[in-house]
Structure formats: structure tokens, C-alpha cells
């Protein structure tokens, strides 16, 4: 009985895949932003990946029309939010009367930062996301209130930092003191959650390139975050997307900024080591 069921299931899958060959896998398009930033959207998988040979940016799974939004900064609506963040960058806040620019001066000085986050922070003894580091600056350097983890101002600031690193290879460290957090993230990635009993891997490793209803599944890479979604016309942060995914498995989700999502972010980021920093990207 069990065998028969599995066989029937396989047939359905084969038939469905044949019907959607037009959508299968990543496409062959090349991403160059503003005619000058050449993005690596396909790379040999990092050594630690056991079941995937090639990693692809989510951009390669989108339609030509959605892809075009990201190829020019003027066409990319995410840049509205980046512009807003560049104003915030120079705006003094908090008891110290400091702005981001007071210490870091030009935001270009933080070029490369987005590529290596999440990152182990030695003095704090923890892995930190970019959002955590931004709030650490706000609270301890500026004497300002922390920003809401997945709020618009935070997503915009991460978008600004990401924009100056575009084209650089993602290269998060997974060894040394970060290893324990990375292992925890990997454990979460392969754990089935929710009433649908789906792990991240079930969709984004076993089935990328296939259709989930009418949606073309990507590898779930986060090199393009924060991302402007045509769906909600705002910048979306990594943890907000994680929350959406886990919710879609009909599970109680972890909270944005929780140790679980921090660990998952480190692990998922490491799956994209070698892809370019693309954020702020545009997705559907």
C-alpha cells in the first residue's frame, strides 16, 4: 500500500514537471546593474553544501519583467527607501547628538560590511546580524532608541549598507566561534515545521526550479535582501521573509531577531557564499 502511494505520487510529479518545463530551473539571464555592477548570480556551491552543486540568486528564477526592475537604480523602487536612509545616515539622533555619519563619515566607508554579516562579535560573544549591529550603534554610540527589527527604517538602513556592497561576493565565516550558531541554523534549515511538515530544504533545496502553485521556487538565497516585493511594495527584511515562510508551513514562527532566526540567517547566508551582494533587490 505504502509503495503504491509513493509510485502514484511520483507519476504526478513527473507529469506536472513535464507540463511546466518552460519554468524549470534558473534561467540563463545575466544581471548587470546600471550597466556597470556585474552580479554573480550563479556560482559553484560552497564546500559545506552536501546536496547542491550550484547556487543561484533568486533573481534567476524571476520573470524578465521582474528582473528588469533591478537592472537600473532608477527603475528599482527599493532605491526610494535607500534615499530615505541616506538622509537618516546624516541625521543626529539620541542623547549623544550623533548621526551614523559622525563616526563612519561616508557610507561608502562601510563597503564590504554587508558581505560578511551575520558575523561573530568578539566583545559581545555572539553572532550578530546587521540589524543587531545597527541597533548596537544606536543604543551605545548615539544614545538613541533601537529601531524595530523588521521595521521600515531598519530595512531601509540595511538596504543602504547593502547598496554600497553590491557586486561583492557574500562571504560569511562559519568556522571558529561562529560554528556553533551555524550548526544550530543548519539544524533549523533541515527541520520540518508546521502542520504541512515542511523544512526550508523541502522547498528550496529539493524543489527549487519547480512550481509551488503558480510560484517559481528559488533556492531561498538571501544575498538580495533586503528586497522590494511587488506584492507589498516595500523593503522586506530577511527575518520578515523567514517568518512568512515558516507561517506558510502553518507553524508558530520564531520571532524576528530571535536566536533561532539569527542562527538560520547565518546558515542561509553561508549557502550563498560566492554569490554577489544584490540588495536591495526586487522580487515578486
Amino acid at each position: 500500500m505504502k509503495r503504491a502511494k509513493t509510485y502514484a505520487g511520483t507519476l504526478t510529479v513527473v507529469a506536472a514537471m513535464a507540463a511546466t518545463t518552460a519554468f524549470a530551473d534558473a534561467d540563463d539571464d545575466q544581471l548587470v546593474v546600471n550597466g556597470e555592477i556585474e552580479m554573480v548570480t550563479e556560482a559553484a556551491a560552497p564546500e559545506h553544501l552536501e546536496y547542491v552543486d550550484t547556487v543561484y540568486s533568486g533573481w534567476r528564477f524571476r520573470s524578465d519583467e521582474t528582473q528588469a526592475f533591478q537592472m537600473d537604480d532608477f527603475d528599482n523602487p527599493a532605491m526610494i527607501f535607500v534615499e530615505k536612509a541616506s538622509e537618516d545616515w546624516n541625521k543626529p539622533e539620541g542623547t549623544e547628538g550623533k548621526a551614523c555619519a559622525s563616526c563612519h563619515e561616508d557610507v561608502e566607508n562601510l563597503k564590504g560590511v554587508r558581505a560578511v554579516y551575520p558575523k561573530w562579535n568578539e566583545s559581545a560573544g555572539e553572532v550578530r546580524t546587521l540589524e543587531m549591529q545597527i541597533n548596537d550603534c544606536r543604543e551605545n554610540q548615539m544614545g538613541a532608541e533601537p529601531l524595530k527589527y523588521t521595521g521600515g527604517d531598519m530595512a531601509a538602513m540595511v538596504g543602504l549598507l547593502s547598496s554600497v556592497s553590491r557586486g561583492m561576493p557574500i562571504s560569511v565565516a562559519i568556522d571558529g566561534p561562529a560554528q556553533e550558531t551555524w550548526e544550530q541554523g543548519k539544524e533549523i534549515y533541515y527541520t520540518r515545521y508546521g502542520q504541512l511538515e515542511l523544512s526550508c530544504a523541502n522547498c528550496h533545496e529539493d524543489n527549487y526550479g519547480n512550481m509551488i502553485r503558480a510560484d517559481h521556487l528559488s533556492q531561498g538565497q538571501i544575498n538580495g535582501f533586503p528586497t522590494y516585493r511587488l506584492k507589498n511594495t516595500k523593503l522586506n527584511s530577511v527575518h520578515a521573509r523567514f517568518k512568512g515562510c515558516v507561517r506558510d508551513t502553518r507553524a508558530h514562527t520564531f520571532k524576528p531577531g530571535s536566536p533561532e532566526f539569527i542562527a538560520l540567517e547565518l546558515y542561509v547566508a553561508s549557502r550563498g557564499n560566492g554569490l554577489s551582494v544584490e540588495g536591495p533587490s526586487v522580487r515578486n
Binding site: A16, S63, M211, I212, A214, D215, L230, K231
Partner: protein, 140 residues
């Protein structure tokens, strides 16, 4: 997993089948009414007017479209499956050489984007493009 994935795929193919059935003729008449108001019974032909839109929109909230209407003074754009079909009216001034414009529009479901152009001699042209709007799995 096998069961779940099969269920998802079956649901997917049913959904796509329904989508393929396409346009609702009942809604198209709202657009026809609007067009009749503008043309006041004048003949509507075809010509160089072209509507360019994606065959499949990944999200109906932001769909890039272009109307190209060489020789037109005005183009009125409709989405014939939206609750209110009107999208935009584009008047071209003397300094507009190509009589073309691109924008981004909202489409409530799979439907036609219809353009009615009034040429500089007062005659009318009509063109349309069908856009399949997908309801995503997790994306939608």
C-alpha cells in the same frame, strides 16, 4: 512529504487550468461602455497602436506596461477585469516625438489591458494585450 507535494502540485495544475480560461466577457462590457462614451459611436480601427505587457505577471500589484501610439494625440488605458476599468489617460504634447509611454499598473486578476488611441486626425484605434496574473504559492 510525498502526499503534501502531490497535493500542492495538483492544486497548482487546477489553479493554472482555471487561469487559462482567461477573460470574463461580463467585465469586458464595462470597458466597452467607457470606450463608447469616448468614441461617441465613431468607428474604431486598428493601426500602429501597440500595448506591450507581460504574458504572465508574477504579481498583479505592479505590472509594467507600455503603450506605443505613433500619430496619436491621446491614449486611454483600461484594465477590463478590474472592478473599475480605467487606468490612465495619456495626452501627448507637441514635444512628444514617439507618442509612447511606460508605466506600472494594478491588475486584480487575469485580464486584458486595452488601449484606445485618438489619432491627431480624430480617428480611433484600439489594441489590447492579455496578461495572466498568477496567484502565488508563497509569493502571492
Amino acid at each position: 512529504m510525498q502526499l503534501t507535494r502531490r497535493d500542492l502540485l495538483v492544486m497548482g495544475s487546477v489553479g493554472m487550468g482555471l487561469t487559462a480560461l482567461g477573460v470574463s466577457p461580463a467585465m469586458a462590457s464595462l470597458t466597452d461602455d467607457e470606450i463608447a462614451k469616448i468614441t461617441e459611436g465613431a468607428e474604431v480601427g486598428t493601426g500602429d497602436l501597440v500595448v506591450t505587457a507581460p504574458e504572465i505577471a508574477e504579481n498583479g500589484n505592479t505590472v509594467p506596461i507600455e503603450v506605443s501610439a505613433p500619430g496619436a494625440a491621446m491614449v486611454v488605458i483600461f484594465a477590463d477585469g478590474n472592478p473599475t476599468p480605467a487606468v490612465a489617460t495619456v495626452n501627448f504634447g507637441p514635444l512628444n516625438p514617439t507618442r509612447a509611454a511606460s508605466t506600472r499598473i494594478r491588475l486584480a486578476k487575469t485580464q486584458n489591458v486595452v488601449a484606445l488611441a485618438q489619432m491627431e486626425d480624430g480617428s480611433f484605434q484600439k489594441a489590447m494585450a492579455n496578461v495572466k496574473v498568477t496567484i502565488g504559492g508563497c509569493g502571492g
